[in-house]
């Protein structure tokens, strides 16, 4: 009788479907989806030697895998890293806590996620030359060498990344693109309020005890220009310090500030060359590097506007919008666009109140604003109430803050700093 029961059981087992692998694995890990799933598998296991063997193998897999040897760090690595850092090389790592990555990330993401800055190539002379210059032609030598005829400026990315107003490239790639709960879109951007000039900023980290890191400097140069026969602003932004070496040129419509063209060279550690043309409701272009060309062709739906491109955009933006108590609005920053997840980043801006700010450049009566890129920590930004001059941006981090501070503004376009 017993043996008959056993053979009936094994016969039944043969015709009963085996549990699916994931369910068996969950069972092995004590993570069954439900008590029913667990009980069902337990019953099956009683009758099915094959699944018992699988279960046993699966349970031992972790221990088995841990026996796989791993190599030790190579000798001299730390010394090499220290020497490279001393020479000014940096590497922007991906964020640890990004949201979901694109399903199939193409190779260039590796580079977009990282920016290797070989500051040593240009050297101190290059820095000095650039800092003293007033236009793009004085850009760092190594970057200028990469510039293409007709594009006077080398580019990368960085000013507002350093400011913290924009997410760093590394994690910019992976923010969700849908905008939920963002304030109304900004209307009535008036490029006519904008003047040409050069703005300089300084970035430093401040500890709670008052210590500050050695500041890095960045500049934004806005000039009247033409693009495709229409009046435009040419915006050159560059950031040069001990962590970043970046520059970029963007043309925006003189009146509406809508982006027309952006050129970025030296993007990522593979020195991608990104060119974007903004045509009606699309951004089109190429990202070239690592011996291949990725085409950029993305829709920029009208409902998502106004669109912003270029790290210098917010210097233009605050001069071109009329702020008042309770004002809030949103714009979309355009990413590189080579993958679907890197096209549009909604940015929410809100006036918090008025505040007088004292910095080395002077004292300024400001609007205090909250600026938030979706998924990023909030920034506090102060802009001069009288003309929208971006005076300061601060992001609170544990143990202190990261701060961008105005160093100088063009005297032709703004009143001298109020002492």
């Amino acid at each position: 009788m017993h043996s008959m029961l056993t053979s009936i059981a094994s016969l039944t087992a043969r015709f009963r479907p085996h549990p699916r692998d994931p369910a068996l694995k969950r069972f092995a890990d004590g993570e069954s989806a439900s008590p029913e799933e667990r009980a069902c598998i337990a019953r099956h296991l009683e009758r099915c030697a094959e699944c018992r063997a699988t279960l046993s193998w699966v349970r031992g897999a972790g221990a088995l895998l841990r026996t796989a040897r791993t190599p030790a760090p190579p000798a001299g690595m730390l010394e090499r890293i220290a020497a490279e850092r001393a020479a000014g090389e940096r590497f922007i790592l991906p964020s640890a806590d990004e949201r979901r990555a694109p399903r199939s990330a193409p190779a260039w993401m590796a580079a977009a996620a990282t920016v290797l800055v070989a500051a040593g190539i240009a050297g101190t002379a290059g820095v000095q030359r650039w800092r003293n210059g007033s236009d793009a032609s004085r850009a760092p030598a190594h970057a200028a060498a990469r510039a293409v005829p007709g594009d006077s400026v080398p580019t990368g990315s960085g000013f507002l990344v350093a400011v913290g107003v924009l997410p760093a490239e590394a994690y910019a790639q992976e923010l969700p693109t849908e905008a939920r709960g963002t304030p109304p879109r900004v209307v009535g951007l008036d490029g006519g309020r904008l003047r040409a000039g050069r703005w300089e900023y300084e970035f430093a980290e401040h500890s709670e005890k008052g210590a500050a890191s050695v500041p890095e400097r960045g500049a934004i140069v806005i000039e009247e220009a033409e693009h495709g026969g229409r009046p435009a602003w040419r915006v050159f932004d560059a950031w040069r310090g001990h962590t970043n070496d970046m520059a970029e040129t963007t043309y925006v419509d003189r009146r509406t500030l809508r982006p027309l063209y952006r050129r970025a060279l030296n993007v990522g550690y593979s020195h991608y060359d990104v060119a974007q043309r903004f045509m009606r409701d699309s951004v089109l272009g190429t990202m070239t590097g690592r011996g291949r060309v990725t085409r950029i062709a993305r829709a920029l739906p009208a409902s998502g506007g106004p669109y912003a491109a270029g790290e210098g955009f917010f210097v233009l933006f605050f001069q071109s919008v009329v702020l008042k108590p309770g004002w809030s609005g949103s714009v979309s920053v355009v990413g590189w666009g080579a993958v679907p997840s890197d096209v549009v980043y909604p940015v929410s801006i809100r006036v918090l109140g008025e505040e007088r700010v004292r910095i080395p450049a002077g004292a300024f009566d400001c609007w205090k604003l909250s600026v938030r890129v979706r998924g990023e920590p909030e920034q506090t930004v102060w802009v001069r109430a009288s003309d929208g001059l971006l005076v300061m941006s601060r992001r609170i981090v544990r143990g202190g803050s990261n701060q961008v501070t105005l160093v100088s503004a063009p005297s032709t376009s703004t009143q001298p700093a109020e002492r």
């Binding site: 692998d21 895998l65 796989a68 190599p71 030790a72 690595m77 090389e89 996620a113 500890s207 690592r290």
Partner: protein, 178 residues
């Protein structure tokens, strides 16, 4: 010796401010696990060394984004995993067969252990990178499917399915090697 968290906090603060000594101390503590994780994910010593290099070259700047809410070693490992996975997707990565230089001890329990180990290593190295990542992160690093999904940009269910496919392939490779 497991490092004291408070020591880490001090080293982190100093490394963030640019101290080479502090970076060196963090390297001394964490280079090994970072290298091990990168190697497990990539299956190539050269690629793993590149990841180790990149992680510590970029660490002082990356620390600006470390908010100290979670444990530093797991934060660092997440970054290393991301850097390795990014590298895995890149075209320029070097390919390599795993270590098997130590296989020539014959006729002892030790030799069997070596043989078994290298079979595991071979089986792991034989997995496609997308499957290996899941099995390494789940079975060796203890990530949840949700965490793996977030890292790889796949759903929890896809992570489960990949894990099972990886385990099946590993089992077949291991059993075939006996």
């Amino acid at each position: 010796m497991p490092p004291e968290p408070s020591d880490d906090a001090e080293l982190i603060a100093r490394a963030r401010a640019g101290s080479t000594d502090a970076l060196g101390a963090l390297y001394a503590r964490y280079a090994e696990p970072v290298m091990a994780l990168a190697y497990r994910l990539l299956g190539s010593v050269a690629d793993a060394e590149d990841v180790l290099h990149d992680v510590f070259l970029g660490l002082p700047e990356a620390l600006r984004r470390y908010d100290e809410r979670g444990s530093f070693p797991s934060w660092l490992k997440r970054i290393a995993a991301r850097a390795a996975l990014t590298r895995a997707r890149s075209e320029g990565r070097r390919r390599e067969v795993p270590l098997d230089a130590e296989l020539h001890h014959a006729g002892s329990a030790e030799a069997d252990a070596f043989a078994a180990r290298s079979a595991v290593e071979r089986a792991l190295a034989g997995l496609p990178v997308t499957l290996r990542a899941v099995v390494v992160l789940k079975e060796l690093e203890g990530y949840s499917h949700a965490e793996i999904g977030a890292l790889l940009g796949i759903s929890n269910a896809a992570s489960e399915v990949r894990l099972c496919r990886a385990l099946r392939l590993l089992r077949r490779a291991m059993e075939g090697s006996r």
